[in-house]
């Protein structure tokens, strides 16, 4: 992967050109780079490509003080944590050079806070391996505190051929692979087959487009099979997935992957059609709105159980929990079905696809031995056998194609075919900027703007107005972030 050791130059150039009036050493370097590009020198400037290509492979083995003790910050709890601990123990037994200390941070938000705090306290407070929420990738790149995984891949001559391409695609910014996919999920359509059958729909063929979803909901309501056709949880990722399924970007500069995003692009024809669909579903009482955050986050899933609204879109990571809840007697008449997330419009868009949710594993800039040790551990965690254990233990989607031939995994998937759905839709997603998902340092605020706009729809705000409000709030957040980089 010779692409992976290249500095993301165009991003630096862009921010130097649009940057603030002040000059730091960093800025000077960037201006020099900008001048270089302007003069047609090309992309590979001496001194800028730095030590990225020289990842210290073998440094842990060659370290004087063995074993090298590394720390991994994670946000896993319950079954996920137990599986991670099991894999870590396996790793320690498999070799003698590296010891791993797992430190739990409860949630991705807590990890963000803890990592930011640690950054101001100095390198010694930072972990060596960092499990970091997918959407915050650009912020971590901008912190200049991580080493791209791609440089380790290149130095180790490690093959990425078996990884699911759309997953790697998410972690590539400006051609650099920044992290390894680890705990990956995707949004799917959950539905109660019994209610669909009662409404005269084929329970084995759930709707695959938003138009079909709407007519299915209509049938469910008009036949009296349920009060609502579905629950719509106003999660920003759902809207962003509809955009990628329609092969459209969320932010400019190829979803922020060919240069730093400077504005959103979602306020376009597709974005407006998705918003009108959403508001139409709510206004026509075909869907009920449920909360994307807070105490009501599971209301959409509970509504399937209670029979109020038999369909909803949610993360595939919830499947295990749903199945265990459904074993309770009161839900005996629910027969859960899992389908791929529907595409916008009336037929699936060519070149449309989905991007991942979940988190990736990053190598933090530390001493050579620690970086190498971190890489060894990441390699282990994302190997086919470990990914099979991981997928079975947690319900996450395996990141390796070879994991599917693992007997434990194939047995588990045979008994619950729903697990195959998120894997299939990620596997069949093309590698292109729209399907990669967007990256921006202001991702949190962009997501909040979209979430607010979706919430506004339920309060009667016209779709077009809600969307343009979201775009202008997101744009001002992007501007504010970009001038600080």
């Amino acid at each position: 992967m010779d692409n992976d050791d290249r500095e993301p130059l165009s991003a630096s150039v862009l921010s130097a050109l649009t940057g603030g009036p002040a000059f730091t050493r960093r800025d000077l370097l960037r201006s020099a780079a900008a001048v270089g590009v302007g003069a047609g020198v090309g992309l590979l400037l001496p001194g800028v490509a730095e030590a990225k290509s020289k990842f210290p492979i073998g440094a842990a083995k060659g370290s004087k003080s063995k074993p090298v003790s590394i720390t991994m910050w994670h946000s896993m709890t319950e079954a996920n944590l137990q599986t991670l601990q099991k894999l870590t123990a396996q790793f320690q037994r498999s070799q003698k050079n590296v010891r791993v200390n797992l430190v739990g941070q409860n949630s991705y938000t807590d990890t963000l806070t803890a990592y930011t705090t640690a950054l101001s306290a100095g390198t010694s407070k930072l972990p060596d391996v960092l499990q970091w929420e997918t959407s915050l990738i650009q912020l971590l790149i901008d912190s200049q505190s991580v080493v791209p995984v791609g440089s380790a891949v290149a130095a180790d001559h490690y093959s990425l051929g078996d990884y699911v391409p759309s997953m790697l695609n998410y972690f590539r910014v400006n051609g650099t692979l920044w992290a390894m996919p680890f705990n990956i999920s995707s949004q799917v359509l959950y539905y109660d087959q019994n209610v669909l059958a009662k409404a005269g729909l084929d329970p084995t063929k759930p709707p695959t487009t938003l138009n079909a979803l709407r007519s299915a909901a209509k049938k469910i309501v008009s036949s009296g099979a349920a009060k609502y056709g579905m629950s719509l949880k106003g999660a920003p990722a759902t809207f962003e997935l509809f955009m990628s399924l329609g092969n459209k970007t969320v932010v400019n500069h190829s979803n922020g992957r060919k240069g730093r995003a400077t504005a959103v692009t979602f306020d376009d024809a597709l974005g407006r059609s998705i918003f009108s669909w959403w508001s139409g579903m709510l206004n026509d009482k075909l869907a009920q709105e449920t909360a994307p955050t807070g105490t009501g986050v599971y209301d959409n899933l509970l509504a399937i159980g209670s029979g109020i609204a038999p369909m909803t879109l949610d993360t595939s990571a919830a499947l295990g929990t749903i199945l265990s809840v459904l074993t309770q007697k009161q839900y005996a008449n629910v027969k859960l079905g899992v389908g791929p997330i529907p595409s916008p419009g009336s037929k699936p868009t060519k070149a449309g696809g989905v991007f991942i949710g979940g988190a990736g594993l990053y190598i933090v800039k530390k001493s050579a031995a620690h970086q190498d040790a971190a890489w060894q551990f990441i390699k282990f965690l994302t190997s086919p056998a470990q990914q099979a254990t991981w997928a079975v233990g947690t319900g996450y989607v395996p990141v390796r194609k070879a994991s599917l031939s693992n007997p434990t995994l194939s047995k588990a998937w045979k008994s619950v075919p729903g697990y195959r759905v998120p894997y299939q839709q990620l596997l069949s997603s093309p590698v292109n900027p729209a399907c990669a998902g967007y990256v921006s340092g202001a991702a949190n605020q962009i997501d909040t703007a979209i979430q607010n706009a979706l919430a506004a729809l339920s309060n009667g705000t016209p779709a077009k107005q809600a969307l343009s409000q979201a775009a202008s709030a997101a744009n001002s957040a992007i501007r504010s972030y970009n001038q600080r980089v």
Partner: protein
């Protein structure tokens, strides 16, 4: 140097020595942070704190204070203060008047009315969070807002709901203030008015209110300052949402500083808040002081 000058100097020195601890504490915890905050506003903060800041002078001040977000913040904050301060004072005054009678067991009512002063913002907020819960909340039921996502998730009702909690919590404090003031009113004036045949409402409007004006003024100043700085209930009830509907200035400061890692932006907002409160307090002093009677003091 005459003996007198020397003595004066020594007294002066002693005076400074005596205020030194207070001055030190103020300097360390008030003046230094104030100056430092103003200074931080001159720098564009990097996205993560390990990177260098950029000096931009007054550029950030201009940009932040000229933004539409700041204007909306201010509007919401002013609305919040308008919702909380006058209602709080009126209710406190009414309750104090009710409790200002000599009937058996009135002490129990005084204790009840002033009890909210002993309730922390967190406790009050969590209690109201339950009362306003769309599924199980009694208040949601009474307001006919049961079901759906509830008042706190409604952009039109979120800020008034937070204001209601704030008013409820402030009642105790204003009640104590007003009760104390009522009890210290010069009885001879009220008795003279009574002898002259003034009715209860006339006495209240013509005598009690003017005599209470210093304490009303005090309650207004404290209330406005407190209203501008209300944070806990917003954080616990709405987190500034939905769709920024309850995003008041102080909450924006918090979000910018601690959620978006943007201390420069937050510093500018903080200085703006300081300036606004300073100006408001001056305005209150200059315009309303003339109408305030300190005759009884």
């Amino acid at each position: 140097m005459s003996a007198r000058t020397l003595r004066r100097l020594r007294e002066g020195a002693l005076g400074y020595l005596l205020v030194l601890p207070a001055l030190g504490a103020f300097g360390l915890f008030v003046f230094y942070p104030l100056v430092k905050t103003a200074y931080l506003g001159f720098f564009l903060a990097p996205p993560t704190p390990n990177l260098p800041s950029h000096y931009v002078g007054f550029h950030q001040y201009g940009q932040v204070l000229g933004s539409s977000e700041f204007v909306s913040d201010l509007g919401r904050t002013a609305f919040f203060v308008l919702l909380t301060v006058p209602t709080g004072i009126v209710i406190g005054l009414l309750l104090a008047n009710l409790a200002h009678t000599k009937v058996p067991g009135i002490r129990a009512f005084r204790t009840i009315y002033s009890s909210t002063v002993a309730t922390s913002t967190a406790v009050a907020s969590v209690a109201f969070l339950t009362l306003l819960n769309p599924q199980i909340g009694v208040l949601s039921y009474l307001f006919g807002k049961a079901g759906g996502n509830g008042v706190l998730a409604n952009p039109h009702w979120a800020l008034p709901a937070v204001a209601m909690v704030t008013v409820w919590q402030n009642i105790g404090f204003t009640f104590i203030l007003m009760s104390a003031a009522l009890q210290s009113l010069p009885q001879e004036v009220l008795e003279a008015a009574k002898v002259d045949g003034a009715s209860g409402s006339v006495r209240f409007r013509q005598i009690v209110l003017p005599l209470l004006s210093p304490i009303l003024f005090f309650a207004a100043v404290i209330g406005v300052i407190g209203g501008f700085q209300s944070f806990g209930q917003i954080d616990l009830l709405t987190q500034g949402g939905p769709n920024h509907a309850s995003l008041v200035l102080i909450y924006d400061i918090y979000q910018q500083a601690f959620q978006f890692n943007n201390p420069g932006y937050a510093a500018v907002l903080s200085i703006a808040l300081f300036g606004i409160l300073l100006v408001l307090t001056f305005v209150q002093f200059f315009f309303f002081q003339r109408r305030v009677s300190y005759a009884s003091d």
